[in-house]
């Protein structure tokens, strides 16, 4: 049965079942008595975007409960990741890729046209262009006037840097896999570092992550071996965060930065929050509270944020 009152509208969360930030949001919503819908399987969600000359009409369907939600009746949508889709498990790889491409393309108008707030997906072309790990995103950053980190391309130069003892992070241009080249002893796969770092090339591997949530900002330092810790935002951090916010229009965005030529330069922007940031004390509950406050204005968000880890 379609809901009639906005007050009972759920927050729709697309995330993997064990996502720590989704868990934090769930906890915060529960604390405040707010309904939250996080499908365990994508097949639990139906969607329809109908387009005519006057615009788009977006509807979400909770198949498990038999509810239809026109998008203006949802409190909001947060996208962290596509939930698993059990029906594709037994498909051949080519068919699986086809289905995933179709699902992603079909959902884009949901993110772009939904009448409720959508966090975690770009709602404009410029925002879409700057997200991602590829060099294209870095070119787009430069074009939009944001300080993009330089990226080394070309085998000769990378080898030279390695021979000089610099640590170079090499990213595959085809599948996004990456590894560190240490000295000239060959490449070593170091998954923890790969998981936790995003700098392209830095002698000290120091990397700073700006976590921008609306007008709020938190910063995180990533050190050798992937250790993370919260840091006090500097004036430089705040200025860069304001520029990113203004240029991309993204409400929740993470900027991964490396220090180059005396300034922070962006190695990538992401609208998703990586699981390892949950290791920073208070980070998960801060983001959970911010999302609740964004989706349900007037909730007890402000008190929860100032309450710290909660």
């Amino acid at each position: 049965m379609p809901p009639s009152a906005r007050s009972c509208a759920p927050i729709l969360v697309f995330a993997l079942p064990d996502d720590p930030f989704a868990a934090a949001l769930r906890a915060r919503a529960e604390q405040q008595g707010l309904p939250l819908w996080q499908p365990a399987d994508l097949a639990e969600v139906g969607w329809a975007v109908t387009l005519d000359g006057d615009g788009a009409d977006v509807r979400l369907i909770d198949r498990k409960r038999g509810c239809i939600w026109p998008s203006d009746t949802l409190a909001g949508i947060w996208f962290q990741a596509l939930p698993p889709l059990a029906t594709i498990d037994r498909l051949e790889e080519r068919d699986r890729q086809y289905v995933i491409a179709e699902v992603r393309s079909s959902l884009i108008p949901v993110w772009r046209s939904a009448a409720c707030p959508v966090i975690g997906q770009p709602r404009s072309d410029p925002a879409a262009e700057v997200l991602g790990t590829g060099p294209e995103a870095r070119i787009a950053l430069s074009r939009l006037g944001l300080p993009a980190a330089k990226m080394t391309v070309g085998r000769e130069r990378m080898v030279r840097q390695a021979q000089q003892g610099q640590c170079v992070r090499i990213t595959s241009l085809t599948n996004g896999e990456s590894f560190w080249l240490d000295g000239f002893n060959g490449a070593q796969d170091r998954p923890p570092v790969i998981e936790r770092s995003t700098a392209i090339a830095s002698e000290h591997r120091a990397v700073r992550v700006l976590v921008i949530a609306g007008q709020d900002l938190r910063t995180v330092d990533v050190r050798d071996a992937g250790a993370v810790s919260g840091a006090e935002p500097t004036a430089e951090d705040a200025t860069l965060a304001a520029r990113i916010r203004a240029v991309t229009g993204l409400e929740l965005v993470l900027a991964f930065c490396s220090r180059q030529e005396g300034a922070w330069r962006i190695t990538r922007l992401s609208a998703q929050v990586p699981w390892w940031l949950a290791e920073v004390p208070g980070m998960a509950s801060w983001i959970g509270s911010w999302l609740v406050g964004r989706f349900v204005p007037g909730s007890r968000h402000a008190a929860a944020v100032s309450g710290g880890d909660g």
């Binding site: 139906g46 000359g53 029906t87 086809y98 699902v103 108008p109 085809t174």
Partner: protein, 304 residues
């Protein structure tokens, strides 16, 4: 002064072969780059730091050309041959990606710059953008839900068609009575439905500000797959207002060259826009137009 034009493509691609075979304007020096050879032939060499641009040199026989020595480029990227699929040949695939990056940021005009017109890979959004650009568009519904699809189909008194949402090639088909029983399968994969527009298919090729169009008369919903032998193409004079809209749309998608698919409605004569192809396979239409498209393309490359 000699204009140096870089052609990038594969001899396996009939459109690329056609382009190479057409007359080149006087005063042009054409350098070809075979993307199938990137793995085995060091045709391109990248070395430097990627910031806002990609440093690249093109090796053409004994010549080594910096990008700064190139005046314009026509590039058609197609999938590598099966033996060069990334799973088999990382080097070839990486070379292709590097070249695409380089052309995306190149300082000279590129037809078409990699990445431009990407919305074509997301048909529902692409259709909406065409609507925003002033074209009538077909009513559409992308869904993975049987009931929503059924409700949409019932609202289409003149029938409906279905096709893929993404850039994956699919054969456009009319929704028939048997398809209604298959709607239950939608929860496994969403589909894009559109109201069926009855009329004549029109393909407009835009190069810069020039338009060349062909009308296609076919009994098939998707004329590309009409094997009846009765389909025919004929030159179609583009009305001024339609041409202006097509030129504007091409520029809005960041393209210099586009193949815009339209249907001229039988009932009202209106032109309904279906999509703007960012890498038009134009050679068949060019033959129907006595080479007018390729002549405009070469002129653009020689003068822009």
């Amino acid at each position: 002064m000699t204009r140096r034009i870089l052609l990038v493509g594969s001899p396996r691609d009939p459109t690329y072969r056609h382009t190479v075979s057409m007359p080149v304007p006087d005063g042009c020096d054409v350098v070809t780059l075979d993307i199938d050879q990137l793995a085995t032939d060091p045709t391109i060499c990248l070395d430097g730091e990627l910031g806002g641009a990609v440093p690249i040199r093109v090796i053409d026989g004994d010549r080594v050309l910096a990008f700064s020595e190139i005046d314009s480029c026509y590039a058609r990227f197609i999938d590598p041959p099966p033996e060069q699929h990334p799973a088999h040949d990382e080097a070839a695939w990486a070379g292709l990606r590097l070249l695409q990056l380089a052309l995306a940021a190149a300082p000279f005009p590129v037809i078409n710059r990699p990445g431009a017109g990407e919305s074509n890979d997301t048909k529902p959004m692409h259709t909406a953008q065409l609507g925003d650009l002033g074209f009538p568009i077909p009513r559409s519904c992308t869904t993975n839900d049987r009931d929503e699809a059924l409700a949409f189909l019932m609202s289409c008194p003149h029938g409906a068609i279905y096709k893929s949402n993404s850039g994956q090639r699919s054969i456009v088909q009319a929704v028939g009575p048997d398809d209604l029983d298959r709607l239950i399968l939608l929860d496994r994969c969403p589909v894009l439905f559109q109201e069926r527009i009855h009329g004549t298919d029109i393909r407009v090729h835009v190069i810069g500000e020039r338009c060349h169009a062909v009308a296609i008369h076919s009994g098939n919903v998707d004329y590309r797959y009409d094997r009846s032998g009765t389909a025919r193409e004929e030159p179609f004079p583009v009305p001024d207002d339609l041409g202006e809209r097509c030129v504007r749309a091409t520029a809005a998608f960041g393209l210099a060259f586009a193949g815009i698919d339209l249907i001229q409605r039988d009932d009202s004569g209106d032109f309904v826009a279906l999509e703007a192809n960012p890498m038009p396979g134009y050679h068949g239409y060019d033959l129907a137009l006595d080479g007018a498209i390729s002549a405009s393309l070469w002129n653009y490359l020689a003068r822009t």
